[in-house]
């Protein structure tokens, strides 16, 4: 096992993944392995929304792990993704975040590629006046850009490096398919803004965070105070077959307010619970849910780096872009829908205050992850504890105080990374 050769072999002392070795958040050798075995392995990486590249030549850049790719629309409507690095000397081709280009031209020596990544022309390939040029054996077919295989579902574009990745619908699983249909296919989404947050923590800490409804009502006191998500709410989790994809949800109900007042002792005298806090202008909390199914928060987390989030009436694609073992950019694509009225748009601009780096119920995640990264940094050979909601087999729940869905993430992560088997006895 070449993990040994790399010297990166953390100890997993519990077969149910209720213990996670802290090295996975800090060791640069493990980070490099993740880039190879996860992001270039049998996973579907989120690349773009189809509505971002409607026309021939439209492109966006994105990150697969820490590799930048260009995602573009060809003349025939097909979508392509190629690494943003010239086959000649490695230069970045597209330096804009998004734009329109009908070919990819390297600025250094003007090597030119089709949108699908094939090398189309090399200046002075045959030299000049019979001198110079590439050797006769040089074949442009051998020097294309590195390509990803594409699949789409519900307007989401995914790419994979591996021939072994299972078909996208099977990879996503039934809960993801249902939720993508509910959030992105009943109506036609359109981008109304991007939000970016630099988080000083490992990218997997965010995967834990978004699979962790236990923290939601403890760290995010705003949403408890105003009844957006409270521990008294009905809700739960559903996992896919591998445990890798999770759907967390909470449901609005009439007895939430009383339930909240009864909760005080669970906040351990922190003084943080403020059920009687009032807003001077509560307009953002009075926007009616525009889906009629009563779900107040739904977080669909898809391995390894995508979240489709509905928080109250906000709809957003959250994407993780790792920047080394101790940093990640959280990139948020904030959505409205075709046919939104002026009032709908106003409501979306009101409620954007709930999400993102300045969001009343999400700004704190960046801070929590920063504190975790700082706190665990030197705890070599030690482990985090994931026992809330029960240990042992993974299963769906109809309760929110749980960490089972986090264990689902680690189960799949451990398998793809090819680490030594987890022990059956906790240490």
């Amino acid at each position: 096992m070449n993990t040994q050769a790399h010297g990166a072999q953390p100890v997993w002392p519990a077969a149910d993944f209720s213990r996670v070795p802290y090295e996975v958040f800090t060791d640069p050798r493990i980070y490099r392995l993740e880039m190879e075995r996860l992001f270039r392995g049998p996973v579907w990486n989120y690349l773009a929304m189809e509505c971002e590249i409607p026309q021939w030549g439209d492109y966006v850049t994105n990150w697969v792990g820490d590799t930048q790719v260009i995602v573009s629309r060809s003349r025939d409507g097909s979508i392509h993704a190629v690494e943003n690095s010239c086959a000649h000397r490695g230069a970045r081709l597209a330096d804009k975040v998004r734009g329109n280009a009908r070919r990819h031209v390297c600025p250094y020596h003007l090597w030119t590629y089709s949108l699908s990544g094939d090398l189309a022309s090399v200046p002075f390939e045959k030299g000049h006046k019979g001198k110079g040029g590439m050797p006769p054996c040089f074949d442009k077919k051998d020097h294309g850009l590195r390509k990803l295989r594409i699949a789409t579902h519900g307007g989401l574009v995914f790419g994979t490096y591996s021939d072994d990745t299972e078909p996208l619908p099977a990879y996503l699983g039934p809960h993801s398919l249902t939720q993508i249909d509910r959030l992105l296919m009943q109506r036609t989404p359109k981008v109304i803004g991007y939000l970016r947050q630099k988080i000083a923590g490992n990218w997997k800490l965010y995967n834990e965070n978004v699979r962790d409804p236990y923290h939601a009502s403890l760290l995010h006191l705003f949403q408890v105070s105003f009844g957006i998500q409270t521990p008294a709410m009905k809700g739960g989790i559903k996992l896919d077959k591998d445990g890798k994809n999770t759907w967390n949800h909470s449901i609005l109900s009439d007895d939430d307010a009383q339930g909240l007042r009864d909760l005080d002792r669970d906040y351990a005298g922190s003084g943080k619970l403020m059920p009687d806090l009032q807003m001077h202008d509560p307009a953002m909390l009075e926007v009616p849910l525009d889906l009629q199914d009563g779900y107040k928060t739904t977080l669909l987390s898809m391995f390894p780096s995508l979240v489709v989030a509905q928080v109250d009436n906000t709809y957003a694609i959250r994407h993780l872009r790792p920047k080394g073992p101790d940093a990640v950019e959280l990139h948020i694509t904030y959505l409205g829908f075709e046919g939104d009225t002026d009032e709908d748009l106003h409501n979306r601009l009101l409620q954007v205050n709930l999400i993102g780096p300045a969001g009343y119920i999400s700004m704190e995640d960046g801070e929590a992850l920063r504190l975790v990264q700082l706190g665990l940094k030197t705890r070599h050979g030690e482990h985090s504890v994931l026992e809330m909601g029960g240990t042992g087999e993974l299963h769906d729940t109809d309760y929110l105080s749980q960490e089972i869905s986090i264990r689902g993430f680690w189960t799949h992560y451990h398998q793809l990374m090819g680490f030594e088997p987890a022990a059956t006895e906790k240490v």
């Binding site: 001077h280 601009l349 009343y360």
Partner: protein, 158 residues
């Protein structure tokens, strides 16, 4: 001597910055007109692309108050750092009687509790102000942020 319009707007910005930098958050809403005001922090990325979603948007005086009320009451868990605003390149013009159109560049540094400083934000204010007696107040402050990959979080207004 009557200070110039330019000098009055500069002084306004320095007072505004001081209230935030010294954590006198309760004073922040007083820099805005009470009847109608609009405060938005937008990324330069969205602004230039014509995308309407702000990072932070207050479209009434009540919403402006709420932003700082959540800080004052401790509803939010936010990083305890010291901020310092540097506001430069101020331009101000009186557009109508009692109305000012102004702009400025800003730089906000952050210093953690162990004394490490770094750049937190860089951007530009685009303002519509009202002259109310001897005070200026903001009807509209559009904060366009060049450093829109937000470092950790944006809890305290800019």
């Amino acid at each position: 001597m009557v200070p110039s319009l330019q000098a009055r707007v500069e002084r306004f910005n320095y007072d505004y910055a001081d209230a935030l930098d010294q954590r006198r958050y309760a004073e922040w809403p007083d820099f805005f007109t009470a009847d109608a005001c609009d405060y938005r922090v937008v990324s330069r990325e969205n602004h230039d692309a014509g995308l309407p979603a702000p990072l932070m948007g207050c479209y009434s005086h009540g919403m402006v108050k709420d932003r700082v009320t959540m800080l004052i009451k401790g509803t939010l868990t936010y990083r305890d750092v010291n901020f310092r605003h540097y506001i430069t390149n101020v331009r101000a013009d009186e557009t109508d009687a009692g109305a000012i159109s102004a702009s400025a560049n800003f730089l906000v540094m952050q210093s953690d509790l162990e004394g490490n400083a770094s750049v937190y934000m860089v951007g530009r204010y685009e303002d519509q102000m009202a002259i109310a007696g001897d005070r200026l107040r903001l009807r509209r402050r559009l904060v366009i942020v060049d450093s829109f990959s937000i470092d950790n979080m944006l809890a305290v207004p800019l």
